[in-house]
Symmetry: C2
Subunit: 232 residues, 2 copies
């Protein structure tokens, strides 16, 4: 499969590296590849410059959002939440329509200080917003409820724990589920919550996730729905 990963941060790099290791063709999309490659300093989060990371992942190309999306079968939104719609607009509806979009981002708003709040929230979600703006994109919200290292290596956290999928398109959720299984997620631990409006529920896990990160002092934890008694 050919994947486009929108976003050059830690989350996008982690997903891209895993997909490449699984034998997929991966292109990372960014606004301006020359600017991204010209950076030589770590960013505010301490993430090393992209060019240095790419030296260790020579098979992964960098392209504009539009070029990355045009070549892909499946697109992954790994932007910061606020960057999602601008990135998708730059990718262009013509390059996106009919494709599966895995939306793994959260609409975190850091403008009011720490901890961040969500925007949109409660009566809307980033997943729904993307689906509304791009009605012909087959949006599946998933993987947004955990640290990125865990997304591609669920065994980092011992015992049973869950990943959620939300979306309107059954075939797109099936494609997402197959990808999750290839990442190491047991099918019984993948919970289909329903249509894309259920993305509100998973995005609204972020506030307690952030507080648990603080209380526990590490990010190697995940939500497990005890008593779920279903793998669907």
């Amino acid at each position: 499969m050919r994947y486009a990963i929108l976003g050059t941060g830690m989350v996008g790099r982690t997903i891209a590296a895993k997909l490449a290791a699984l034998g997929h063709e991966v292109v990372i999309g960014t606004r301006d590849p020359q600017t991204t490659l010209a950076r030589t300093e770590a960013d505010a989060m301490g993430t090393p410059p992209f060019a240095r990371w790419q030296q260790d992942h020579p098979g992964i190309a960098l392209a504009t959002f539009a070029d990355a999306a045009a070549r892909a079968d499946i697109v992954v939104n790994a932007t910061s939440g606020a960057g999602a719609l601008p990135a998708l607009e730059a990718a262009g509806a013509d390059n996106l329509n009919g494709k599966v979009l895995l939306d793994i981002a959260n609409p975190l708003d850091f403008s009011r200080g720490m901890p961040p709040v969500l925007d949109p929230v409660n009566t809307d979600s980033l997943g729904e917003e993307i689906q509304r703006v791009f009605p012909d994109l087959r949006v599946v919200k998933t993987l947004n409820t955990m640290n990125c290292l865990l997304m591609v290596d669920p065994a980092r956290v011992p015992g049973e724990h869950n990943v959620f999928v939300s979306g309107n398109d059954t075939d797109a959720k099936k494609a997402a589920t197959e990808l999750l299984v290839s990442f190491g997620w047991p099918e019984k631990d993948i919970i289909d919550l329903g249509d894309i409006t259920t993305a509100r529920g998973t995005e609204m896990l972020l506030p307690i996730w952030l507080r648990l990160w603080g209380a526990l002092g590490h990010a190697d934890f995940n939500f497990h729905i005890a008593g779920a008694r279903t793998g669907s």
Copy 2:
């Protein structure tokens, strides 16, 4: 201990019955006891009238919010979210100040249809709102992340799963923890998230809880933080 339970619905009755079974003195508070006792029909949720329930629990008194709170060592807010502040105002700051309040309610707003949304949310929570309005009340948010039957009988859901506590007062959280242990919660499964602002995180679990209830078709499930590696 003497407990006042504010709220005559299923949640209040379930907590009251458990506390009475554990040997505590329990008074349920309501706006107007005569009106509550005069009801002969089940409510919109199918909850049987209070007077019928009380026949099976003759040791549990019904009183006004103020009378119930005045006699109590610990007060439990088991109202509907929107009813919480009016109930506490009716109870009166003089009857509440210095006491521990276990806030087990969620600010569900059904006015926009189903599923309900939260109000307040994101930048505020019901727990914080109560703490702000009653600064001398020692508010602990807990038990609001599960079905009421599970609150008092954690073994209903097999395996490990968690209950959270949020609050500014360490001694009040200790009292809440002791009560939870007496309900059957192993101390290692009680997670202290931090101050009362962390109530946002647990209240914001409600949207996914409601969707899981729909997807799973039953309410005997609970959140478990896999990999938490702490009992604090």
